[in-house]
């Protein structure tokens, strides 16, 4: 049982003896320093990987939308336009940074920071593998929900500070949409916490298995519905179509980041794309078996960690594809429909699921549907 990535590495005898040899050589115990370095390197690597994934999100979005609309999409920069993301990055950096004259400059500069901060802080608990989780906090999933609500404040402030009418409308809509849809998402997560008996991602993923019949998605009928509630809510929380009202191009120009230019806009966009990946990862960990691979002994080795991370990335990217697919398939909702869907459909269904899961847990003693049907 590892709780952090450092403990995982220190559980290998080779690595431990290596550390103790260095300690002997230097005359002091260097374990705290090594632990810190592992954390720092791990955090840097994960940031780099996820930022790249976020960048590729923009590329994938364009390519897949082109595919759906029978176009070609970006194909000029590099093979298949793969370097489009680098070109975009260079463009973002070299654009002029303009703030409206009437803007509230302090808040204008702070808003993208809050969005970035809220998204990047969640990386600390995302489970890429049983060992490669930066830290497996006992309040893991709760922490993730809590810190990512900073994005809502960022969106609101971005809209407010610009002092532009489009931005203000987008910011108000965005904030109220993000906070509303947080409720069904939280309640669905709560149902999974109930089934797994813990809030840490290690516990939640560990109580599922590698094969679909061990996933929480098929644990009972209620958790099956809960997945769709969570997925819909997550789409809305990340402002993805069909819930992209805060930045509805045809109505609000560009919503809360109308007045943002250059790198500040780039940071908002990066936060948004990375957040989609994060919520896909959370949905995978909670419902679709997470990083589980067959074989417990295998899973602990370094090769097993690689396999786990691969499985996690494959599932998450599949879900990411579904998110993009939905965007280019469904029309946008009206703002009143948005609120009705959240409060009159998703929230009561989520509460129903929660109650159902609790009753199921007591009545069937925590067994899943498959265990009940096939193991008598």
């Amino acid at each position: 049982m590892n709780t952090t990535i450092a403990e995982y590495f220190l559980s290998f005898d080779v690595f431990r003896s290596f550390v103790s040899r260095i300690s002997l050589w230097l005359g002091t115990d260097v374990t705290p320093f090594i632990v810190f370095m592992i954390f720092l390197l791990g955090a840097l690597v994960i940031t780099l990987v996820l930022a790249t994934v976020g960048g590729f999100g923009t590329y994938a979005e364009r390519k897949i939308s082109a595919d759906i609309q029978a176009r070609i999409g970006p194909n000029r920069v590099g093979p298949y336009g793969l370097f489009q993301l680098i070109a975009d990055g260079i463009k973002m950096v070299s654009k002029e940074d303009i703030a409206p004259k009437t803007a509230d400059l302090f808040l204008f500069y702070l808003a993208p920071f809050l969005a970035i901060f809220g998204v990047f802080s969640t990386f600390a608990v995302i489970p890429f593998g049983s060992g490669i989780t930066l830290t497996d906090l006992n309040v893991g999933v709760f922490y993730l929900v809590a810190i990512s609500s900073l994005v809502g404040v960022g969106v609101f402030l971005g809209g407010y500070a610009s002092n532009s009418k489009w931005s203000m409308l987008g910011g108000m809509r965005g904030a109220s949409q993000i906070i509303s849809y947080e409720i069904p998402v939280t309640l669905s997560i709560l149902a999974m916490v109930l089934l797994s008996g813990g809030m840490s991602f290690g516990q939640i993923v560990g109580s599922q298995g590698a094969f679909p019949h061990q996933w929480f998605l098929f644990h009972n009928p209620f958790s099956f519905i809960a997945f769709f509630v969570l997925f819909t809510g997550a789409l809305a929380e990340t402002n993805r179509a069909p819930f992209d009202l805060p930045e509805a191009e045809s109505e609000l120009v560009s919503g809360y980041h109308t007045e943002y230019t250059g790198m500040r806009f780039g940071l908002f966009a990066l936060a948004e794309y990375v957040e989609v990946f994060v919520v896909s990862g959370v949905a995978v960990s909670l419902f679709l078996g997470g990083y589980n691979v067959p074989g417990e002994e295998f899973g602990h080795s370094l090769a097993g960690q690689g396999a786990q991370a691969t499985v996690f990335f494959l599932k998450t990217c599949a879900l990411y594809y579904v998110v993009i697919w939905i965007r280019w398939t469904f029309p946008r909702l009206r703002v009143d429909q948005l609120m009705v869907i959240c409060w009159k459909y998703l929230t009561p269904i989520a509460i129903f699921n929660l109650v159902g899961c609790a009753v199921w847990l007591v009545v069937f003693d925590g067994k899943s549907m498959f265990e009940l049907f096939f193991h008598h």
């Binding site: 940031t47 600390a124 608990v125 830290t135 002092n163 532009s164 109220s176 109930l194 609120m339």
Partner: protein, 139 residues
């Protein structure tokens, strides 16, 4: 449970620090590389599709936004209180106290349901019904 130290929170702090550094670094790079032209009046004007903006955008908004926030915060707090109970539910169920916990849990949720039923009945969950053009908006 293995003994832990507060070091389990270190990655969280490191990640937050990285977010700060990334933000500052990206803006510094942009500051170095981006052109800084003259700030003409047209350039720093809020974008309103070519029209000259009239007044400020910081006008009064409809109170329905507040009502949504209000319902949200109550539900938020209730779900926060349910988290630790949900986390020990399975353990207590295995210890044989499942029915007791279920009763407490269900009575808690039923109060939550009363709240949503009230708001539903009174129409606070509708977006259109409470649509009022605020007469203060011109001031």
């Amino acid at each position: 449970m293995p003994e832990q130290t507060l070091n389990v929170f270190m990655p969280v702090t490191i990640m937050m620090a990285i977010a700060v550094i990334l933000f500052v670094g990206a803006l510094a790079a942009a500051r170095l590389l981006s052109p800084r032209g003259k700030k003409t009046d047209e350039k720093v004007m809020p974008y309103e599709c070519g029209e000259e903006p009239v007044g400020t955008a910081w006008s009064l908004f409809n109170v329905r936004f507040y009502v949504v926030g209000l319902i949200f915060i109550i539900f938020d707090v209730e779900s926060v209180l349910m988290f630790p109970v949900a986390a020990v539910f399975k353990k207590l169920n295995e210890a044989g106290n499942g029915v007791y916990v279920l009763i407490i849990f269900l009575s808690f949720i039923s109060v939550l349901l009363e709240g949503i039923a009230y708001c539903w009945k009174k129409g606070d969950l509708d977006w259109v019904r409470s649509f009022i053009v605020n007469k203060n908006i011109d001031k």
